[in-house]
Amino acid sequence: MIKRCLFIFIFFSSCASIEYSYFKDLKNYYSKNRILVDQSFVDNQNFSFIKVSNSKNDAIFILSNVDQFGVHEWIGSNYESIKTKDGLVIETKGLRSDIKFYSYDISILEKATNFNSQIDLYNPDLIFSSITLRRDSLTTYMNSKGNEMNVYEYTRIVPEIGWKSKDSYIFKDGVIHRSMQKINPLLDPLKIDFYFKY
């Protein structure tokens, strides 16, 4: 926020006057790059996709592969890749900071309430560190359209670096619908909306 205020001050007090086209710069800097996903957007897609959002931007990733473990691989416009298992991001490539889980057989939907794995974080690098996903709560309710919604709240803990953050996973009729999770302690959480086309 301060950086944005500073930018505006500098923008208005820079030595030349302002051409109208420069307001585009101001708009780009200040506005958020949001993508509206409505029914027509969904209808126009040929493949399943996810919308990934952080505090500033939205991006669309298209489903490219589903393997025998139920891991979905999603590809972005610049060939970034996100792998998810029941909504949990278990591997990314090409993002500003990436994450990799060593265990692919964990599932948010398991009856067990704690999952342990090893992870790598990249940029900054943290190699083969222990992570625990601890289920805090499971809430079930019916939405207005009669779908069963299950909300899983998890805490992810990486003791080695003191990382503790809250994740949430929303399942609609047993299929992942939305998740909110941090993939790196120094970054904003990612909100992922899942749109499956069968």
């Binding site: 950086k3 923008f11 420069y22 780009n28 900054p124 670096i161 302690p185």
Partner: protein, 707 residues
């Protein structure tokens, strides 16, 4: 009475005996935002004490702290990794600005100071980092002090500091060690000066004092750190009125909100809670504040366009005109000779000529038919030829695919260029003259630190108009509660700034300047100007510059007949007129990218002398400058400040944007506005026009060629 305290030995012992590193791997997660923080004084340090730490070069910071009875704001810059310079204002709320209420009302005392810290020894595995610093270097002496300080990172999260100080840092007295060298260091003047003078004889003189402390980064706690120190400040003399102190120990915490913003909360003197914040930006690197810049869009149907442009040269010329214009690059002339496409263009979008020429070539490559085997492009600005690039088309494409920047003079020709208006180019798109350009926008004007109040400013609507009569001939026009009268004994060429600000609050004309630019040879440029040259002077004159394209030096000469403007900044004039002129020498040191400027001649107040300016230019275009001027007037004639000096910085706006533009933000500050050493600030000085597009720029920025 002088004494050697046991704490000094303990501090030194801790510093020296724990000189090892604990190497933990994921330190960036355990200690995020790990950059050193600012003291209450406004420079990097502990709570009150300084330390020997520095931020990365190109960093610019602002620090604010409220520690009764002081409220301090500081601007801190790092031209190098080994140099910290800062400028601060302190509001001292237990004293009045002046004893005369008619003059300054109930405004509290303001004190400005300039500080510097220089690294002497860089930290190594066994040696601490050692720095020498000067506080209130040329100020009134209210807070002046010097120090030599050592800091050692003894483990990943623990930084120890100890030092010895003079002047205001003598809260814990010891014998001055420099007395072993000379008795000259025995006495220190205790009187306060009028400011602006370097009291070199006082440096490191008089009693000395010691201080120490530590900064501990709390692991896994979002970068929070704890500070503890044994205070070296002498509160009996600081700020004039003695300040109560019940303990020598200070404690504090710093909590970083992000890598830029930090908050702090301290308990000082055993009786005072204080707080503050700081904000730091690194502006020196490429893409310093953005991840990347916009990519040049590819022309979607380039193969079809090539078929069209292969049918006639005119099609190629018109295609180049159109597609270059889409990128805000304006084709002026073009010719095809022996399978070589030659294009002359002008542009104002790209600050960096390497990117401008690279993008121009990329567009030409996408639309030119295959029989074109080489390109030659030249950039011009206001009738002045800036540079010429020639490249083989196959080499351009081969290197572009591999993102291999070409080597100047080996893979591409980089040469000077002089526009020849008589040359018969085959394509000469018509430009309608006179061409009129106008922009309008807000304009912020401010004046800080006066007796009427700390800050005065206004927001105006500013219109900048440019009438291009012919190529190289233009008119530039800029249309856009104070009570301190000037006490200067010199002609009031600058000190009437208050009247100018007061009486130009309605419609005013900042500048209306007719310029004629030209080139005698590829190395010799000239400019004639007349009109309203700046906010205080009308006049006419000329400037010439000798700047060989591939050399790092330039020599300039300029002469102006000027008439002082009325305070309302319209067309009227006051009685004062003079002739001013300078012989200038410029040198760009290519390794450190320091630009040295020296101007000698007659100044606006009819004083004669020399002005020196040093500028560090960073890769991003961010610049930090400092200058001083010595002329033939005495310090008494000059008045407060003794001689003209100041600093400035210049931030390209594109640092904050993912798109390119050549706009910039410039901010300069003189501790005191006086009349001596004043220079006419006419627009478009020739050094500024040509230097940014010369050979050194290609050598330094060639990696951006395929950006």
């Amino acid at each position: 009475m002088l004494w050697y305290p046991r704490f000094q030995h303990i501090g030194l012992l801790i510093c020296m005996s724990f000189s090892f590193y604990l190497l933990a791997e994921p330190t960036e997660y355990i200690y995020p935002y790990k950059q050193y923080s600012f003291s209450n004084y406004g420079t990097l340090g502990l709570i009150q004490n300084p330390n020997a730490r520095f931020l990365d070069e190109g960093s610019l910071g602002f620090s604010w702290s409220h520690n009764e009875p002081y409220l301090r704001g500081s601007l801190i810059a790092y031209p190098f990794n080994w140099l910290e310079v800062s400028y601060q204002y302190a509001d001292i709320n237990n004293q009045l600005y002046s004893p005369f209420k008619d003059f300054s009302g109930s405004q509290s005392l303001k004190d400005k100071s300039f500080d510097a810290k220089i690294r002497l020894i860089k930290e190594s595995q066994f040696l601490p980092q050692i720095a020498v610093g000067f506080r209130d270097l040329a100020g009134t002496g209210l807070f002046s002090s010097e120090f030599i300080v050592a800091s050692k990172n003894v483990s990943t999260g623990l930084d120890l500091t100890t030092g010895i100080g003079w002047g205001n840092l003598t809260g814990q007295l010891i014998k001055n060690p420099f007395l072993e060298i000379s008795q000259r260091f025995e006495n220190r003047s205790s009187t306060l000066g009028k400011g602006g003078e370097f009291n070199i004889d006082d440096y490191f003189s008089g009693p000395a004092g010691y201080f120490f402390g530590l900064e501990y980064y709390v692991p896994k706690f979002r970068g929070m750190r704890i500070k503890f120190e044994y205070d070296g400040t002498n509160y009996n003399t600081e700020g004039g009125i003695p300040i109560s102190q019940t303990s020598n120990f200070n404690f504090g915490i710093v909590f970083p909100q992000s890598k830029n913003l930090s908050y702090k909360l301290n308990f000082t003197r055993g009786n005072t809670v204080n707080f503050g914040f700081s904000y730091v930006l690194n502006l020196g690197n490429k893409n310093a504040q953005t991840i990347s810049k916009e990519k040049q869009p590819r022309i979607s149907n380039s193969n079809a366009i090539k078929i069209v442009t292969s049918r006639s040269d005119q099609n190629l010329y018109r295609g180049a005109l159109k597609y270059l214009s889409d990128e805000k690059i304006f084709l002026q002339h073009a010719s095809i000779n022996d399978n070589e496409l030659e294009v002359i263009f002008a542009q104002g979008k790209y600050r960096n000529p390497v990117i401008a020429s690279g993008r121009t070539l990329s567009i030409l490559d996408q639309i030119a038919p295959n029989n074109i085997t080489s390109f030659k492009v030249h950039e011009i600005n206001g009738g002045i030829g800036l540079y010429s690039i020639s490249i083989n088309r196959d080499a351009f494409n081969r290197d572009r695919k591999l993102f291999l920047p070409p080597k100047p003079d080996i893979d591409i020709g980089v040469e000077p260029f002089k526009l020849n208006n008589n040359k018969n180019y085959k394509f000469n798109p018509k430009t309608k003259y006179p061409a009129f350009f106008n922009t309008i926008g807000p304009d912020i004007r401010s004046q800080i630190g006066g007796p009427d109040g700390f800050f005065f400013g206004d927001l105006k609507l500013k219109s900048v108009s440019e009438l291009l009569i012919l190529r190289g001939l233009s008119v530039i026009s800029e249309i856009s509660k104070l009570k301190l009268p000037s006490d200067s004994v010199l002609p009031h060429v600058r000190t009437d700034i208050v009247q100018y600000l007061k009486e130009s609050r309605n419609l005013s004309i900042q500048r209306m300047q007719l310029n004629k630019f030209g080139q005698i040879s590829p190395s010799i440029y000239y400019k004639f100007s007349a009109g309203i040259l700046e906010h205080m002077f009308n006049g006419y004159g000329s400037e010439a510059l000798y700047k060989p394209f591939d050399k790092n030096y330039a020599i300039g000469v300029e002469a102006w007949k000027v008439y002082q403007r009325n305070y309302d900044q319209m067309f009227g004039m006051r009685d004062y007129q003079t002739t001013t002129g300078h012989l200038s020498f410029y040198y760009h040191e290519p390794v450190t990218n320091i630009i040295f400027k020296m101007k000698g001649g007659k100044f606006l107040a009819k004083d004669s002398g020399i002005s020196f300016e040093f500028t560090r230019e960073f890769y991003s275009g961010f610049r930090l400058s400092a200058f001083f001027t010595r002329t033939d007037i005495s310090t008494e004639e000059f008045g407060e400040g003794s001689f003209d000096k100041g600093f400035s910085f210049y931030i390209p706006l594109e640092i904050f944007s993912n798109s390119y533009n050549s706009r910039n933000f410039g901010w300069g500050l003189k501790p005191i506005t006086r009349d001596g050493g004043a220079i006419l600030t006419h627009s478009h000085n020739l050094w500024g026009v040509v230097h940014k597009s010369h050979k050194h720029k290609f050598n330094r920025h060639i990696a951006d060629f395929y950006d």
